[in-house]
């Protein structure tokens, strides 16, 4: 069988290469003791945010739908993953971690179906609004949730006294205090593997008939339908995969800290991930990896400077607006198009909610 290498698959291999090289270099530096503890503590979250950025890019850049609640899926993954990991006390760490990540991705996927099924059949900017609300709803639900585990299984209540547990039962999620007593199962290697899996899923999807269909309906929904593309099916496919990957990243993230509160996965986090994606370039997987890594680590390294810590979200907002404005500037836009930097065109789409610009229906 002849397996020709297209330009896109070569690009994909380069992405694996970059991730593997970065991992090996960091391992080497760590072995030499050349990495500060601060940076070390950032390695797992950075992997999670890279996965978040790649998966959001699937929705925003490749599918062309704006999502403002990606952290909501991360949250679902984090808390369900924590519960799964704590329910598997008797297992060794690696299977526990794998099971927790699987549970997290399933929870993310279910959230994706819940949001996607009603919303993705509509045309227009509804997804942005609904995902925004979804993220906030998830956050607020977890704040009032009390989850405990005992021999009989999982007990969930919103009563602040917590569920009545049998002898030897443990509380996993304690309302506003979030998840507590979490085993720190996450590791840099696990994060590295999760990035590779994410790359594998997203890149192979994009290079399959499903990926072509997804990009086709992003570029022109009406034309895609006219050649037999079932729009809702493919939108849902992209969105649910994106949510599942976010859930997986969330599970890993949650298992990196001994306690996690749901406010970590609020609107600000969703916007942060969106900033990574937009600055990395819509549709560019490599861009997402690099910008997530740099933009996550940089401010963390500068935490010493109080101004930057405080103004972080403000700075992101300004950057986001600046990018939007420059890219919508006609002169700059034509320059970018000339250089074949398609970011501009895609951003225009973002603003128009993926609607095709010209003409009415079927003109």
């Amino acid at each position: 069988m002849k397996r020709t290498l297209s330009k896109t698959s070569i690009n994909g291999f380069i992405n694996y290469g970059i991730v593997i090289a970065a991992f090996l270099i960091l391992q080497l530096l760590m072995a030499q003791g050349m990495i500060s503890n601060t940076l070390k503590s950032l390695l797992v979250p950075v992997c999670c945010y890279i996965v978040m950025a790649i998966s959001l890019n699937l929705t925003v850049g490749i599918l062309g739908e704006l999502s403002l609640g990606h952290a909501g899926f991360m949250s679902l993954g984090a808390f369900s993953g924590i519960v799964a990991a704590m329910a598997m006390q008797e297992f060794s760490p690696v299977p526990r971690l794998i099971a927790a990540i699987l549970v997290g991705s399933i929870a993310g996927a279910l959230g994706g179906v819940l949001v996607g099924v009603p919303v993705l059949r509509l045309q227009g900017d509804y997804l942005a609004i609904v995902t925004l609300a979804f993220g906030e709803i998830i956050r607020n639900i977890i704040v009032v949730l009390y989850v405990g585990l005992d021999q009989k299984g999982i007990h969930i209540t919103t009563n602040s006294a917590g569920p009545a547990l049998e002898e030897g039962g443990i509380m996993v999620i304690k309302g506003p205090m979030g998840a507590v007593g979490v085993p720190k199962l996450a590791s840099f290697t696990a994060g590295f593997v999760l990035i590779l899996i994410t790359l594998f899923v997203v890149q192979n999807l994009v290079n399959s008939r499903a990926g072509r269909a997804i990009m086709a309906l992003r570029d022109n929904r009406i034309a895609a339908e006219s050649v037999g593309i079932h729009v809702t099916k493919y939108k849902l496919m992209a969105f649910v995969i994106s949510a599942a990957l976010a859930g997986a990243a969330g599970a890993l993230f949650g298992l990196n800290y001994s306690s996690t509160v749901s406010s970590k996965f609020g609107f600000n986090t969703s916007i942060l991930i969106l900033v990574f994606v937009v600055l990395g370039g819509l549709g560019s997987i490599r861009g997402s990896i690099i910008s997530a890594a740099l933009l996550y680590i940089l401010p963390e390294m500068l935490r010493g400077f109080e101004f930057i810590t405080k103004a972080r979200m403000l700075i992101y907002a300004v950057i986001l607006i600046a990018v939007m404005l420059t890219i919508n500037n006609p002169a700059l836009k034509s320059l970018l198009e000339e250089r074949d930097l398609s970011l501009g065109g895609l951003l225009g789409k973002l603003k128009n909610g993926g609607r095709a610009k010209k003409g009415g229906a079927g003109q």
Partner: protein, 265 residues
């Protein structure tokens, strides 16, 4: 409508519209539209601006649901079908305002249209199981074959949006053919083309008709152009058929002349 052309074969027409019509809030954009199309026919659909030609296409491709009448492909009612289902039923179209997948390559634009003839699942695609390679290889070859007919084999890797205008129009036709459709609806494919490009396009249209065994319904503004390649022409004005028949019959019909000169009623 009972035009008198010789090339009608026995048996069911590939497409038949029966009293087809649609109303947009009081405006009868199309009404009482009757026509039959037989295998291999090339029919022209002409009429002044706003006559309802594109609306007929939108009805036949499921973009709009008719408010009256019905239409049939190979004798089967198509009422209630969505656009993506119509593509499966074997009808494909091009658009008056070009609608390409602009950030995809020329080859990918054509490959997208093969989606409905492919069967490997999403998981098989992600895991790249044997069926993925087999089908991808097959459509790569088929897509290139179609593009070669349009003399576009040299542009397969270009982004669709970077093609010159005339080429974009051709790519749209190539994409429609790739769906495997046996009925093609072409909405002003020569719009915006210069005379040389137009002549070349008309040649291509006659070529694909035999090469791919398709029946074609062609909207065109330019009367002389339609006259030269269609055996049968249907003229509509204000959403209604005012004449149909051979180019000669139609060209000499006073109602048609009236409509085109703007002397209505």
């Amino acid at each position: 409508m009972s035009g008198s052309t010789d090339n009608r074969k026995n048996g069911t027409p590939v497409m038949r519209a029966e009293n087809l019509g649609i109303t947009f809030g009081g405006l009868h954009a199309v009404s009482g539209f009757d026509m039959e199309m037989y295998e291999g026919e090339l029919i022209g659909l002409i009429g002044p601006n706003g006559a309802g030609k594109t609306t007929v296409f939108n009805l036949l491709t499921g973009v709009y649901q008719p408010t009256e009448g019905n239409f049939y492909l190979h004798g089967k009612s198509m009422l209630g079908k969505k656009p993506h289902q119509m593509a499966k039923e074997g009808i494909a179209r091009t658009f008056q305002n070009i609608r390409l997948f602009k950030d995809l390559s020329v080859l990918e634009n054509v490959k997208v249209a093969f989606n409905q003839s492919m069967s490997y699942s999403m998981l098989e695609g992600i895991l790249r199981l044997p069926r993925y390679w087999k089908e991808e290889e097959e459509i790569e070859r088929k897509a290139k074959e179609i593009l070669a007919v349009f003399h576009m084999e040299g542009e397969v890797d270009q982004k669709a949006k970077n093609l010159p205008y005339g080429r974009q129009r051709k790519l749209e036709i190539a994409r429609a053919i790739a769906t495997g459709a046996k009925i093609l609806l072409l909405d002003e494919p020569a719009a915006g083309m210069n005379p040389t490009e137009t002549a070349e396009l008309m040649e291509t249209i006659t070529l694909i008709r035999t090469r791919f065994g398709v029946s074609i319904l062609l909207i065109e503004h330019d009367m002389s152009l339609v006259m030269s390649i269609c055996e049968r022409i249907v003229v509509i004005d204000y959403g209604q058929i005012i004449a149909s028949g051979s180019p000669y019959e139609v060209a000499n019909d006073p109602k048609v002349i009236g409509a085109y000169l703007g002397q209505d009623e």
